[in-house]
């Protein structure tokens, strides 16, 4: 019974007792148990990663009206293991003139930046790695480490196209961090805390009803930050070979690829945490932390599916369109939303009308934005009409 209410602490206490009764000093036993816990957690994340490869291939197949892998194991569930064996037995090529240490460190840093994020994901209030009170800032910091790994990969490959791909990927990643940080700030303003557990606890009503437009901005910037379609010009096969990971073969490429999938799942988890109540589900989470953890993983998988849905539906965006979209549209919109949310939140503090007021203000801003875009498009079209020669037949 005790175990179901507080699994991690009970396991920790029992292990500590067994280690110290065997004669180990308490500090050493504590550190050892922490290390074992980290190892188990990371193993869980990596096994989940294998499962995610299978999900990805099945889902993309269904979107493209085909079946996907179905030969190896029931429903093709052992396909990722075949992929892993293939990647492991491939030849490990290091290009001539490459910087060997940086070349080998880059995939490690890429995977590291994702696994670091798992330390603050709150599966349940009592099942969180560490409850940092600056958790959301830690999210941005881990994104910076991912950016670093991209530069290292692009530079160390000694390949013009890899370096160019790395430049563009880094430009995209650091540009889209800004609307993401603004969206996170809106959530911080609404929740009153930057820590992950604090944000979940403040969500009596999920924040999606307080800030729907912020959800859309966070979704778009998260997809751009991950480097997934429609923002995947930097690894587009027909255009720049494979971008910054052109020269990587075998398991190093596997680390980049699996890291990207795990990163998408982690961001699905963060969307569930920030906007949809984390592990809450109409009171079902009162049953215990393990039920809460399962609810959280279920929500994270659902948002991972949403990210995949966007990927396999929308075509790729050109790099100059992508940067213009960020700097001329998303960033001002995100900051306007932050100001409006703070203002409306202050005016309606502690009142019952807070949620409808915020929701209505979001709808108002969305409508104003659409009107502005329509008038802007109309002016552009009129300019185009004026420049066209009058002998051409135009149909509108």
């Amino acid at each position: 019974m005790e175990f179901w209410k507080d699994p991690i602490n009970t396991i920790f206490a029992s292990l500590l007792k067994s280690f110290t009764s065997g004669g180990m000093s308490e500090i050493l036993a504590t550190i050892l148990i922490w290390l074992i816990g980290i190892l188990l957690f990371v193993t869980f994340a990596m096994v989940l990663d294998i499962f995610l490869v299978w999900i990805e291939r099945k889902v993309v197949a269904r979107f493209q009206d085909r079946l996907g892998p179905n030969r190896i194991g029931p429903f093709g569930i052992f396909q990722p293991f075949a992929d892993i064996v293939k990647l492991l037995i491939k030849e490990d090529i290091t290009p001539v003139g490459a910087d060997v240490i940086m070349f080998n460190l880059a995939p490690i840093f890429s995977m590291m930046s994702v696994l670091l994020l798992w330390a603050i994901m709150p599966f349940a209030p009592l099942m969180v790695g560490v409850d940092l009170n600056v958790g959301m800032l830690y999210l941005v910091a881990a994104g910076s480490i991912g950016t670093l790994s991209v530069i290292m990969a692009g530079w160390a490959s000694n390949n013009k196209y890899a370096t160019m791909g790395a430049f563009r990927t880094v430009a995209q990643m650091i540009s889209y961090e800004i609307p993401m940080v603004a969206a996170i700030l809106v959530i911080t303003v609404l929740a009153g805390s930057m820590g992950a557990v604090g944000i979940v606890e403040a969500q009596e009503i999920p924040f999606i009803f307080y800030a729907p437009l912020t959800f859309i901005i966070f979704l778009i910037s998260a997809i751009a930050e991950l480097g997934r379609s429609p923002f995947d010009l930097n690894e587009a096969e027909s255009e720049i070979v494979a971008g910054f990971h052109t020269e990587y073969t075998g398991m190093k490429f596997g680390l980049f690829y699996a890291g990207e999938l795990l990163h998408s799942f982690t961001f699905g988890g963060f969307i569930a945490l920030l906007f949809f109540g984390g592990h809450r589900f109409f009171g079902l989470e009162e049953l215990g932390p393990i039920v809460g953890a399962l609810i959280f993983i279920g929500k994270a998988l659902f948002f991972y599916w949403v990210i995949m849905w966007v990927k396999y539906t929308v075509p790729r965006i050109r790099i100059d369109h992508m940067l213009a979209f960020n700097w001329k549209f998303l960033t001002p919109l995100a900051f306007i939303l932050l100001m409006v949310t703070a203002l409306v939140g202050r005016l309606f503090l502690e009142s019952n009308w807070l949620v409808p007021a915020l929701f209505l203000s979001n709808i108002l801003i969305a409508w104003l934005t659409v009107e502005y875009l329509k008038s802007h498009a109309r002016k552009e079209r009129e300019k185009e009409e004026a420049l066209k020669p009058s002998t051409q037949m135009t149909q509108h």
Partner: protein, 171 residues
């Protein structure tokens, strides 16, 4: 030796070792990456000093933005010959002397200060440092004015950098 002291010595070795590599390495891109190692070490030091917010801001601002700026600038101003030349100029002996003198001077100055071997007092746990910091930055009696001036400075730097680096196109 307590465990915090061992941790401090490890981080100090990382910081000073990589700082030394920053100023003596031949290839510029390696210097930038050693700077990143130094910045991570300094962030760990902030975490040891119970300034968690500062550690996160250090990683986001310095590693995530400034170090990447350095790497871009190094890549854009690279000439093949430059990396194979000697990294230090002909006055490096005098420079080393100045460095040693400044370290010796600072050490002597600090040793004569009576608070030099203070130990840390325990931190009171009922005050939330982030809330205090945030309130202090926007209270007119506290630090609102430096905050606003810093934002104007950043705006000026932004406009200036775009203008200066844009010259080639406007000619």
């Amino acid at each position: 030796m307590q465990i915090t002291q061992i941790l401090f010595l490890i981080f100090a070795a990382i910081i000073l070792g990589s700082a030394f590599k920053v100023v003596t390495t031949k290839k510029m891109i390696h210097a930038a990456f050693w700077l990143i190692v130094t910045l991570f070490g300094v962030a760990a030091l902030y975490a040891m000093l119970n300034a968690g917010f500062m550690a996160m801001v250090q990683i986001v601002v310095y590693v995530g933005a400034i170090a990447i700026l350095f790497i871009f600038a190094i890549m854009l101003t690279r000439k093949e010959l430059l990396d194979s030349a000697a990294p230090l100029n002909k006055n490096w002996g005098v420079a080393a002397l100045f460095g040693l003198l400044s370290f010796g001077g600072l050490y002597t100055l600090l040793r004569n200060w009576e608070g030099f071997s203070n130990k840390a007092s325990a931190l009171s746990t009922d005050v939330d440092m982030i809330t205090e910091l945030g309130t202090a930055l926007v209270t007119p009696n506290a630090y609102l004015l430096p905050f606003e001036v810093a934002s104007v400075l950043l705006l000026a730097a932004l406009i200036g950098a775009v203008y200066v680096a844009n010259e080639a196109k406007s000619d």
